[in-house]
């Protein structure tokens, strides 16, 4: 199982209830395919940065989940075939989390080194002027 974030944008021609139902529909698919949904974020109706299929607005929904590759493939296939979904994107998150931890260790080491050498850490206010 890998950690994924999947965002999809639903068409603005839907009503709020229809958009909610669409989210429930996809949540059902995730559950069906043995995915572990950690969080669903509904951002509501948002303006798009550029036109997508001639629409300039859309309902954003984010799924944060643990899933296998077959679920992602299936979910994306459904997104493609669904007329009300105008855009979607899946991002794998677990590798980034690993990299973030490595970076944290690096920061700690640097902090210790500086403390030993007697270099004071510049505070945020000082740097910002």
């Amino acid at each position: 199982m890998r950690r994924y974030e999947t965002i999809f944008i639903a068409s603005p021609t839907l009503t709020d209830e229809q958009a909610e139902e669409l989210v429930r529909h996809f949540e059902g698919i995730i559950a069906e395919q043995a995915g572990e949904l950690l969080k669903t974020e509904k951002w509501g109706r948002k303006k798009l940065a550029y036109e997508v299929q001639k629409f300039s607005e859309g309902y954003y929904t984010l799924f944060d989940m643990n899933a296998g590759p077959t679920l992602i493939a299936e979910l994306e296939r459904r997104f493609r075939n669904h007329d009300s979904v105008i855009k979607y994107m899946s991002v794998r998150m677990d590798e980034q989390t690993k990299a973030a931890e490595r970076q944290k260790v690096r920061y700690e080491r640097e902090g210790r080194r500086k403390a030993q050498a007697g270099i004071k850490e510049r505070s945020l206010e000082e740097v910002m002027g």
Binding site: L48, Y50, G58, K87, A99
Partner: protein, 87 residues
């Protein structure tokens, strides 16, 4: 070189790093380990009007964080949070 003084005799403080103020990497100060593509507020600060990525020589962001930043911006563009190009 002398700094130009304004009416009050104080040296003018420039907002952009045009003056003598040294650049710094915002993300290093915050010790960020990861730049989120969903954080549009931060990302727009590094994509001026045209929607292009602000170069490192202007923003002062370190190489590591610039790489993370570019990835985040590209992801945000993909899902229509940021424009590819705008006028």
């Amino acid at each position: 070189m002398k700094r130009k003084a304004d009416a009050k005799g104080k040296p003018k403080k420039k907002k952009v790093f045009g003056g003598r103020r040294s650049k710094f990497c915002k993300f290093c100060v915050e010790k960020s380990t990861f730049i989120d593509y969903k954080d549009v507020k931060t990302l727009t600060g590094f994509t001026p009007e045209r929607g292009k990525v602000l170069p490192r020589r202007t923003s002062g962001v370190c190489a590591l964080h610039q790489r993370m930043l570019v990835e985040a911006i590209k992801r945000a563009r993909n899902i229509a949070l940021l424009p590819f190009a705008s006028d």
